[in-house]
């Protein structure tokens, strides 16, 4: 645990004046609240599911709501159990980070805690030994709920700091990489032109030599493509969005793919789904995911592409039968220079995320029907343009 976290929790406890008296009162309140935990939880999720935008953060249906409810019951129990130490903080922060991960807007976190607060205050007052005790317990419960909110807010801050660091890292890396990339095009130009001349000089008669010339040419092209994707990654071309039917995007993304024996399953609904994106940038994302999928699945494998409307977004899932994602790099998968591929340099997914974010979308790694990697790309729908995160 990082020292600043220790500092933070101790500091905010001091700030709200949370002390041993509060701890004792919370322990006294606990047994009176816990029997109502299920009822509170049901009411809590009824409020959330009634609210369109808050509900949108819950994408996993009844199963997810069930698991969230169980989490909340535990959360309520632990609220009154103590000890309110660093391990407590870490557990609470983990839940906060989950909110960040599912893009729960912060305002709903506040209003949702208010629903819980109402229940807790009512129970405390209804069950208090005396009005004075009840009043003191009420203050303690409110102090703790404020601490909870502070912890959750901090996880949002962690996330935006991480984003900022990523952007800065990318900017520094970008300037450096861009200048190297450009410089490499000069020697590539010499290799390319020498290869062109060599091919003419040896003619068609010399098969073993032309085979090597072909290889050199192909590798020069590959190097140049790597340079191009690197420059695309660091380039700040703002998107020029327009309405793009999702089928047009898929066709554009699949068009440049090399001929392959890998099975590509397309599952696109009949209803016309229209995105509001920069076609070229969206094409790059999908083409990248597809080409990763094809490479991972291999010649006998399968890549499944599934398109579904999802609120203000269209969800495009690319799932393959390859070996899947190394868990050790899963959390850093979208950072530049992180790659699961033996020969990858780790630009593709970093570029995908950047392009997705710039187009008001998101890209995440998920688990899919097929055993390999599964990526979920969400891009804004035309009718509801304006970003989905």
């Amino acid at each position: 645990m990082a020292p600043h976290e220790e500092h933070l929790f101790e500091e905010i406890k001091r700030y709200v004046g949370f002390d041993e008296g509060d701890e004792a009162r919370l322990r006294a309140v606990g047994p009176r609240v816990v029997p109502h935990a299920l009822a509170i939880t049901d009411d809590f999720y009824r409020h959330i599911l009634e609210h369109h935008d808050a509900r949108r953060a819950i994408t996993g249906g009844d199963a997810q709501v069930g698991s969230l409810k169980r989490t909340l019951v535990v959360w309520l129990r632990e609220l009154f159990e103590g000890p309110w130490d660093l391990a407590y903080y870490e557990r609470r922060a983990r839940i906060g980070r989950r909110h960040v991960a599912i893009d729960l807007p912060q305002q709903y976190m506040f209003t949702a805690v208010s629903v819980i607060r109402d229940h807790l205050c009512r129970i405390v007052l209804d069950t208090a030994a005396s009005p004075d005790t009840g009043r003191a317990e009420l203050f303690s419960v409110n102090r703790l709920l404020d601490l909870e909110l502070a912890i959750m807010l901090h996880t949002y801050r962690e996330n935006s700091l991480a984003r900022l660091q990523r952007t800065e890292r990318l900017a520094t890396f970008g300037q450096f990489a861009a200048s190297i990339a450009h410089e490499l095009r000069n020697p590539l130009g010499v290799i390319e032109s020498s290869t062109f001349l060599l091919r003419k000089r040896v003619g068609d008669s010399s098969e073993p030599i032309t085979r090597h010339i072909d290889k050199i040419s192909a590798q020069v092209q590959l190097s140049n493509r790597i340079i191009s994707s690197l420059l695309d990654l660091v380039r700040e071309r703002p998107p020029t969005p327009r309405d793009v039917p999702v089928r047009e995007l898929l066709t554009a993304a699949m068009e440049p793919l090399p001929a392959t024996t890998t099975t590509i399953e397309l599952d696109v609904p009949d209803e016309p789904l229209v995105l509001h994106v920069d076609l070229d940038q969206a094409r790059q994302i999908v083409a990248n995911l597809l080409s990763n999928g094809l490479e991972a699945a291999g010649p006998t494998g399968t890549v499944a592409v599934r398109v579904r409307p999802e609120g203000a977004a269209v969800l495009i899932t690319v799932n393959d039968t390859g070996p899947g994602i190394d868990p050790t790099i899963r959390s850093r998968l979208f950072e530049p220079l992180v790659s699961t591929k033996v020969r990858g340099i780790g630009l593709g997914l970093a570029l995908c995320r950047r392009l997705a974010e710039r187009n008001g979308g998101t890209i995440t790694v998920a688990s899919g029907r097929l055993p390999g990697a599964s990526f979920e790309l969400r891009l804004p729908r035309a009718e509801l343009a304006g970003g989905i995160s």
């Binding site: 410089e183 000069n186 130009g189 010499v190 290799i191 032109s193 062109f196 001349l197 020069v220 420059l231």
Partner: protein, 121 residues
């Protein structure tokens, strides 16, 4: 005959030599300079129909060289080459009337096509 001669200027001598060889194969006459100042010094009006100029060179960049060459030989056509496709100089080069900008590594076949068209025009 001199109407089909091409002036190649690139500080990368290896590339400049290769380009001359490619152009000669394609039936052009060609000379190269790896120093823009010397290219400028050697220019005689009417000697070349077209100049193939790298945009980033030490001392004098391709845009400056092109302007100076045009002072001496206003009829000289020009095509730019660059490893930096997003360089501000690309915009300047096209604004100054250079016919095209080729990104390195260049496709020799399409370069020849473009040169033939440019010289014939």
């Amino acid at each position: 005959m001199s109407a089909r001669r091409i002036l190649v200027v690139d500080d990368n001598r290896d590339l400049a030599e290769n380009l001359v060889e490619i152009l000669e194969d394609a039936g052009f006459g060609a000379d190269f300079f790896d120093d823009p100042a010397r290219a400028l010094h050697a220019l005689v009006p009417g000697r070349y129909s077209l100049a193939l100029i790298d945009l980033r060179m030490p001392g004098m960049d391709g845009v400056e060289l092109h302007r100076a060459l045009k002072q001496i030989d206003p009829a000289l056509k020009a095509i730019a080459m660059t490893a930096f496709a997003r360089d501000e100089r690309v915009r300047c080069a096209l604004g100054d009337g250079m016919l095209a900008v080729f990104s390195k590594p260049m496709n020799a076949a399409s370069l020849i096509v473009q040169l033939r068209e440019a010289v014939a025009a």
